[in-house]
Symmetry: C2
Subunit: 340 residues, 2 copies
């Protein structure tokens, strides 16, 4: 599946928004460009890993599969990727993460105040990115509607983030609460990517709704696979240490499932170990044992498969066709293969 | 000048956006409502000081003075005030300020991660606030244009914030740099308030440009008066300690003017005192002496008067009329009277 040409289009479109307006502001733009993988910490051009650009790809392919012109959707695709990256810059501050994609995070290099501001700047650029839609022939009412979807999505993202931060301070979180949280934090933006792509290709409300559903189900599956990789992923592939989510005591789906489904005594023991300030490497085998005992891995794999099937069924209902439709299908299937 | 009815309209409009969608999210909405002065720290309704709502008032009056219907401008006025408050929530984190308007700040009560997220949420609400413009008969193309002005303004705000944070880490900042910074941080949003109000009343590009200029000049005057109050303001009136900006070593306009205009030996001594980690109450009289010697207060007053005159001249050029026009004039004049 060769999507390099699409990625290059998105990159160019994003770059048009990040041209410093005056020399004094160069570091402000520089911090954002650093995060996107275009500059190093001294603001010299490089090609670092800036992420897979998955969301804008879904937007462009969803547009193309429904007969739309990807040139028309490009400003929205760029805006979606900038929105995603705003959330990562702030997430890294909130999680106190020093590294992302093998590089120092923005706050770790330039301090928390500037990193908050760089994230804010990126969020605003995500909006300004959509302004050129009009020049590309998208009717103003559709531009307003696109911005509405983008902002409703971003608000759900903030709601999900609120829950995520609140959960860290709570002992018990149940699986349903967790699913609502990842719905806001992950699935809603992937849903919006597919929805906006469809909106810029067609007025057909059924096709748009099915495209959104495709993205939503795909987003849930994506997060579940991520949760599996965070515990059982190959460090060579993930670029993180083995069982990294366990060592950082993240309450991801397999953990919450086990806490809810283990016999009471094991669940209590698990809860005590997980509630420690710091987890040691030595605790990991015992925790993996509890997860195994609860059948947590199998359950989450099964859920991810279910959501992928639902995504594929929704994709069929969009009525899309051609190579782009097949690429969306292949993309959805490839997620599952990432892990097992 | 009775603008209470206008303020009440803005408050009601803002409240429509902050209705929790489900009980689990109540604290997320609660933190934002607390900041706006509607709830206490336990999320019980109160009436606290949430600020003067100056920017939405300017928006509504600018619309009214040009013959527009304030009901049409209300969603934009609410959005502008939310945008302003987003910047305050993040500003308080970035400045490490524990108090605002005699109340604890959001980050101080709920921690930095949740406060970043509450600010992000408020910024998105500022955008969603504008969506009802369409239902009120504003053409979609004007809605897109209004969102463009709002986002360009917010991006300038982020640029100003970048400079502000960067200046704190620098020894020398000249007056010109400072004026550029406050242009971004303060004047641009007041300019946008007046511009958007005009845009929602008329298509006349000259009236819109003059209204924007009114807001811009007013914003500069406003910040200069604030800088004067931060040093020479009456603690009874400002609610801050005397010479509060000196004690927190802020590089405001009077300080920068003095550093630039004192004889070299005094300027160097001033610079050394101001560069201390911590300023003592005992340092204040000496610093006030240097400011006096440089004529800093008189210079900043003169600048504030000049910008107020320019604002009033621009207001005349808008061609606005009626009580709203007179209220805008009175508002501009009242700023100067705040301080001297």
């Amino acid at each position: 599946m060769d999507l390099d040409a699409h990625v290059r289009l998105v990159e160019s479109q994003m770059r048009t928004l990040l041209v410093p307006s005056e020399p004094a502001l160069q570091p402000f733009y520089g911090m954002m460009s650093y995060h996107l993988g275009w500059l190093d910490a001294q603001f010299r051009p490089i090609q670092a890993d800036g992420g897979k650009r998955l969301r804008p790809l879904i937007c462009l392919l969803a547009c193309e599969a429904l007969g739309g012109d990807i040139q028309r959707a490009l400003p929205a695709a760029a805006g979606i990727e900038l929105l995603h990256n705003f959330s990562l810059i702030h997430d890294d501050i909130q999680d106190n993460s020093p590294m992302r994609r093998h590089r120092e995070t923005v706050w770790h290099l330039w301090g928390m105040p500037q990193a908050i501001n760089a994230g804010d700047g990126m969020l605003i650029l995500a909006h300004l990115a959509l302004q050129p839609l009009q020049e590309r022939g998208v009717p103003p009412a559709t531009v307003v509607q696109t911005l509405r979807v983008l902002d409703q999505t971003c608000f759900r993202l903030c709601q999900g983030q609120y829950l995520d931060i609140a959960f860290e301070q709570r002992e018990a979180v149940d699986v349903e609460e967790y699913l609502r949280m990842i719905g806001g934090k992950t699935a809603s933006l992937i849903a919006a990517s597919a929805e906006i792509g469809a909106m810029l290709a067609t007025d057909g409300s059924q096709a748009i709704a099915a495209s959104r559903e495709f993205g939503w189900e795909l987003g849930l599956a994506f997060q579940m696979v991520d949760d599996i990789l965070g515990i059982w992923g190959d460090p060579q592939v993930t670029g993180k240490s083995a069982a990294s989510d366990i060592l950082s005591r993240k309450k991801t789906l397999p953990i919450l499932f086990a806490l809810q489904h283990l016999p009471a005594s094991s669940a209590a023991a698990f809860g005590r170990v997980y509630a420690q300030e710091q987890l040691a490497e030595e605790d990991v085998p015992q925790i993996l044992g509890w997860l195994e005992q609860a059948g947590a891995r199998a359950d989450v794999i099964q859920r991810a498969e279910l959501h992928t099937q639902r995504a594929l069924a929704a994709l069929d209902r969009t009525g899309g066709s051609g190579p782009a439709q097949e690429q969306l299908r292949a993309l959805a299937q490839s997620f599952l293969k990432r892990s097992f």
